[in-house]
Symmetry: C2
Subunit: 258 residues, 2 copies
C-alpha cells in the first residue's frame, strides 16, 4: 500500500482537484485507491458527491475519537475508488488532539496508526491519497508522518515558489525525525496557462532546481475542472475527453512508474 | 479607525492580493492605512518588498510575546501605507497561545487589544486591513474579534460557494458572542473570467442571496496581478493602468462610501 500525501500550505493550488482526479485515474486503471479528506472545508467529500451526515462517521471520529478508519470509509460512483469523508468539526481537531495528548510525537502518529490498522483489515487498497488543508498544522503533519511519499501541486506563480522551499524543508524535517522513508515523489504544475512568461519562467526555475522530481505531466487551466465538483464527479466521468482529465491520466501512469 | 478583516478559509481566492491593493488604493487616495499579515506564509510581507529579519519584530511577537504593535510596524514604498509583517514561526502561534491562555475568550482578544493600544499611540491610521490565513483557526478568530467589518474575496467557483455560507455563519457567531458590531461589508469577486457560464451563474446566485452586500467592483483575472508580488510592488506601482489596479481603485471608493 503506497500512501501519498497531497500537500501544499499555499491555498487554492489544486490539492483537492489532484487528489480526486489522480485517485479516479488510478482506480480506473485497476488499482484500488482510498482518498482521505483531511480538510475541514470538505471539498474532497463534496467533489465525490458524498454527503456529510450527522450520524455518519468521518475522519474526525477516526483522529479525535479513535474510531477504526474502516468504519468511516464509503464507496464512490467509481469502481475501485473508496473515500473517507471529513466534516466541519475537523477545524477544532488540532486543539482537541493537542489537549488530549501532551506528547507532540504521539499526536503526530494518529493517522499513521489508523492506516496501518486499515491495511490489515482491507489489504486490497493499493494506494491511499491524503488531501491536506492549506496549512502546516497538525493535520498536515499527521499526513506527512503517515505517507511514504509526497505530491506537491503548485501553480506557476510567485507566492507558490516562495512556499515551495519552506514546504520541502518541512518535509525533510518530518522525514528526519518521524518518517525516515518520506520522499518527494514530484511537483505537479497545475492550472497552467502556457502563454504567459510567468508560467514559463517558473517551470524552468523549478525544473532547474528539482530535476526529475518534477512530473512531466502538466495540468492546463480549464473551466471544466472548476465545473466538475458542482456535479460531484471527477473529470473522468464529467468530461473524460477534457485536457485536464488526460493530464491526470498521464500523471497516474507517471506515479505508477516511479 | 476602521478595521477590516479580509477573510475566507478557502485557499487562493485573492485575500492577500486584495489586502495589498485595496490598502495601496486607500493610501494613494489620502487615507493612512495599516496592513497586517496574519498568515505564516508571509505573502503580504513579501508582496510589499519587506524582509523578515531574524531580529526584527513581527505580528508573532505582538500576539505571542505581547510586544506593542507599534514596535513591529514598518513603512512601505507607498506614502501613507504602513505594514506589520509576519514570519513562519506564526504557524505555531495557535498552539502556543492556547497553551499559554486556557480561556478561549482571552485568547481571541489579543489582536483587538493590541490594535486599541496602537490606535492610542498612532491616531493617524484611518484604516487597518487584516490579511487572514486560509483557515478559521485562532488567528482568523482574532481578526474577526478585532474587526468592525469583513471583506470576503471569492472566486466564481463551486467550492467558493460552499465555503461562503459556512464563513458567514462563523462571522455571525463571532459577532454574537464576542464582537456585536461585526458586519459583512461586502463579498468581492476576484480572478473573474466573464466569458465562462460558471462565473455568470455564481455571480447571479450570490447577488441574489446577498443583494447589496456584494461589491459592484469585480476584479478580472490578469497575469499582471500574479507578476507584481515578485517585484515587491502593489499593482498601483507595478502596472497602474492595468484593469486589476483600476478594479481595486473602484473598490476603495466603494469601501469609503459604505
Ligand atoms: N486545472 C484547473 N483549471 C481550472 N480550475 C481549476 C483547475 N484545477 C482546480 N481548479 C479550480 O481551482 C480552485 C482551487 O482548486 P482546489 O480547491 O483543488 O485547490 P486546493 O489546493 O485544494 O485549495 P485549498 O487550499 O482551499 O484546499 C477550485 O475552485 C478548482 O475547481
Ligand atoms: N486578479 C488576479 N488575476 C490573476 N491572478 C491573481 C489575481 N489575484 C490574485 N492572483 C494570484 O492568484 C494567487 C492567489 O492569490 P492570493 O495569494 O492573493 O490568494 P490568498 O487567498 O491570499 O491565498 P492563501 O489562501 O494562500 O492565503 C496568487 O498567486 C496571486 O498572485
Ligand atoms: Mg483543498
Ligand atoms: Mg494569502
Amino acid at each position: 500500500m503506497r500512501i501519498l500525501a497531497v500537500v501544499n500550505q499555499k491555498g487554492g493550488v489544486g490539492k483537492t482537484t489532484t487528489t480526486v482526479n489522480l485517485g479516479a485515474a488510478l482506480a480506473i486503471s485497476g488499482h484500488r485507491c482510498l482518498v482521505v479528506d483531511l480538510d475541514p472545508q470538505s471539498n474532497l467529500t463534496t467533489s465525490l458527491g458524498l454527503q456529510i451526515t450527522e450520524d455518519g462517521y468521518s475522519i474526525y471520529d477516526v483522529l479525535v475519537d479513535r474510531e477504526p478508519l474502516g468504519r468511516a470509509v464509503v464507496d464512490t460512483d467509481i469502481p475501485n475508488l473508496i473515500a473517507c469523508p471529513s466534516d466541519p468539526s475537523l477545524a477544532a481537531a488540532d486543539l482537541q488532539i493537542a489537549a488530549d495528548d501532551p506528547d507532540p510525537h504521539h499526536r503526530a502518529l494518529r493517522l499513521r496508526n489508523s492506516l496501518l490498522d486499515f491495511a490489515r483489515d482491507d489489504p486490497g487498497a493499493a494506494f491511499v491519497l491524503l488531501d491536506c488543508p492549506p496549512s502546516l498544522g497538525l493535520l498536515t503533519v499527521n499526513a506527512l508522518v503517515a505517507a511514504s511519499a509526497v505530491v506537491v501541486p503548485m501553480q506557476c506563480e510567485f507566492f507558490a515558489m516562495q512556499g515551495l522551499s519552506r514546504l520541502l524543508d518541512t518535509v525533510s524535517r518530518i522525514g528526519r525525525s518521524w518518517n525516515p522513508g518520506l520522499d518527494l515523489l514530484g511537483v505537479l504544475f497545475t492550472m497552467v496557462d502556457r502563454r504567459t512568461n510567468l508560467a514559463r519562467d517558473v517551470i524552468a526555475e523549478v525544473r532547474g532546481k528539482l530535476g526529475d522530481r518534477v512530473f512531466d505531466s502538466i495540468v492546463p487551466r480549464s473551466v471544466r475542472a472548476a465545473e466538475a465538483p458542482s456535479y460531484g464527479l471527477p473529470l473522468q466521468l464529467y468530461d473524460p475527453r477534457s485536457r485536464v482529465a488526460a493530464a491526470y491520466a498521464d500523471l497516474a501512469q507517471e506515479v505508477l512508474g516511479r
